[in-house]
Symmetry: C2
Subunit: 256 residues, 2 copies
């Protein structure tokens, strides 16, 4: 919708067989979705892909040409199923090379006793990659052009993202307001469609819920211009009152 297409955009690529097999529930996408929204960067798409070089490379190439930022999570550890660096190298048609500073950090962290070839593999990155600091467990992520390669372990992914945050350019923050209407979605649908026509620059989402056997609808207004969101909100309240439904304002962030 117009409201979130203005400004910067992003995609997230979650890499890992364990997510697709149902073994692990991904926590990185919800985190990145919230963080990007708070920066005014519109997350436009996410993909979850297996630990396979060709599939990851294809997803990276599909997303990096289309969005301002691409964030990947997972697949940068020391084992045979960690193939993200090789996949990103293939996507950019660059050789995979050992990054000297990454190697230095790994050798310092593990010491001569514990460093081995598997651990050094974590220093292999596409040529020209810039390191992303890992304050938790040292092994760095990396950035190449607009692609940011983060760890899969949620605590490490978060720490890496925190370090990047200051360097990411968003648009104006997205303003969000939620109205909870105690009426089924089907009875406010017409009013919402009319409101959407009147405010094409405000994204109007409608999320039905069944809570303690009460039926209702959370209506979420989102946009980059706070004044327009406020105007749409006032018009919405007026329409809902005219329909005679009870309603309450939420502070946003609730689940619909």
């Amino acid at each position: 919708m117009a409201a979130t297409e203005a400004g910067r955009t992003a995609a997230v690529i979650v890499i890992g067989n364990e997510i697709l097999s149902g073994r692990t529930v991904d926590a990185n996408l919800p985190f990145l979705a919230r963080e990007l929204a708070s920066l005014g960067i519109a997350l436009r798409e996410a993909r979850i892909v297996p630990d396979e070089v060709a599939v990851i490379a294809e997803a990276v190439n599909a997303c990096r040409t289309r969005y301002d930022y691409v964030f990947t999570t997972g697949g940068i550890g020391p084992t045979h199923d960690d193939v993200t660096a090789a996949a990103v190298a293939r996507a950019f048609a660059r050789p995979l090379v050992r990054h000297p500073e990454a190697e230095r950090r790994l050798r310092a962290w593990y010491g001569e006793e514990r460093i081995n070839e598997a651990r050094l593999k974590m220093a292999d990155m596409p040529e020209g990659a810039a390191l992303i600091d890992n304050p938790i467990s040292t092994a760095p992520g990396f950035r190449i052009e607009n692609v940011y390669v983060l760890a899969g372990i949620p605590g490490v992914a978060r720490a890496m993202f925190e370090g990047l945050r200051g360097g990411l350019r968003g648009g104006p923050a997205i303003t969000s307001r939620t109205l909870t209407v105690h009426a089924p979605e089907g009875e406010v649908a017409e009013a919402l469609a009319a409101l959407q026509r009147a405010f094409p620059d405000v994204e109007i989402g409608s999320y039905p819920f069944f809570r303690f056997e009460r039926v209702g609808t959370n209506i979420v207004l989102r946009g980059r211009e706070a004044a327009r969101v406020a105007a749409a909100w006032a018009a919405l309240v007026e329409r809902v009152e005219a329909l005679g439904f009870d309603f309450e304002a939420e502070t946003g962030g609730g689940r619909g």
Copy 2:
């Protein structure tokens, strides 16, 4: 990997701005991932896309030609932001038409008092679609060729999937065994790579964890041939014992 590429494959497309904005944490993908695995259907990819006809249609077309099954969730309600049916119709280049049986069910459920044009919109589907029953709130999902269109509300999506389960053809169930090794991933990586070379038909995943300040690695073996998984398991235990690490067997399904 070979182990999960044999047999039937699937993709899941989660539709909804509320997931991408971080407002709602999706629960349908973890559910479908587990269910498909239990049916022996390999989930190969998932995409999360916004409520936009062109973007949804493109994702549906990318996935339906590539995988045996495609499941979508979300965007089939009565409001203006429910555009999944229109998007799937566009993907198949078919007109969107009112399904007579879906209309009949909606009219019976809501009654003449409460039926309205917004609610009848939930009977609009691509020409030739077959209904997917909704035992919770009546408004049906639909199937067209290999694309199954489910609701976004998790309880409804689950009920719809339960009804479909008997008609889905999987391969032999995937056998999964997990070994927890009390050693860092980087110290078992070499052994795992050798094991993967010896058992190319068994998918070997490695997931490090930090738990109560103990470092360890969950090693997950998955494959369609139980005997091969058992043989790989025995070889893995032998290698880990030779390395002198403590380990314990898990029943699987834990989080790595």
